[in-house]
Symmetry: C2
């Protein structure tokens, strides 16, 4: 009987953990935007690998990676960043409340990122030197936003 009760209790705990994860505030938006960030990281990885000489330069692959960066930006998805969907509402996100605070320059920083991604889109398929030339601004635009608006990852 005791075993049965314990098993039932364990099942309930497991079930509530699953429900809680699904029902956590902004869970869908956070999962979607983290997926887009992961996608950007993969594409920047393609470009960075070529810039560092770790992988051979391939104009077509470089262009596709840069196109995808711009494509993600152009999805234009404020729906994924509702007010309050920060790391105090749900620890699954590293997004700081500062994003939505008064005076936040998230818009300007996002536009800087767009500029850098567009520059990379123009450069990536041209030749390796052009790609390298566009890499610094792109990396800088990523870092500027992460530094200001992302909780440090342990």
């Amino acid at each position: 009987m005791k075993t049965l009760v314990v098993a039932a209790a364990a099942a309930i705990v497991a079930l509530s953990a699953a429900v809680q994860a699904e029902d956590a505030p902004f869970a869908s938006q956070i999962k979607a935007r983290q997926g887009l960030m992961e996608l950007n990281a993969l594409n920047i990885g393609v470009l960075a690998g070529m810039a560092k000489g770790e992988t051979p330069y391939d104009a077509e692959k470089a262009k596709a990676a840069a196109d995808a960066l711009v494509g993600v930006y152009n999805l234009d998805l404020p729906m994924l960043w509702p007010q309050g969907s920060d790391n105090s509402a749900n620890p699954a996100t590293h997004a700081l409340p500062a994003i939505w605070a008064e005076g936040s320059d998230i818009g300007a920083k996002a536009e800087n990122w767009e500029k850098a991604a567009l520059a990379m889109q123009g450069a990536a398929g041209k030749d390796l030197d052009s790609l390298k030339g566009a890499m610094n601004d792109l990396g800088g635009a990523c870092a500027a936003c992460h530094k200001a608006f992302r909780a440090s990852l342990q």
Copy 2:
């Protein structure tokens, strides 16, 4: 001393679990594509809510949701679906090996989905009846792929 050893062992276990999760095969690709699926689900949710009368019809929001569906498709990301990135390689994904099997009609099913998304893009911003008219094909195209290529979710 025993406490220290146990604590150290626990820390190592926790650390390896984290490393393992990061290092799991195709972890980045799976996280990125699941994020895109979540994004599609959010946008289809916007359209379905209007179609069912749960939320008032809003031409601009409907159009933006349909645009995003087409935008995700247009990202054209075979890089997220490398051969072998199925649920036997990594249980974090529900993608079945059948996707990559010989004779797989994943391409045809994806094109059907594109057609349905494009039809929705043309219809969503027009009026509610047009949106409703495009909903069945879109839902059908989602379901056809999930039924054939996604392991059933428990």
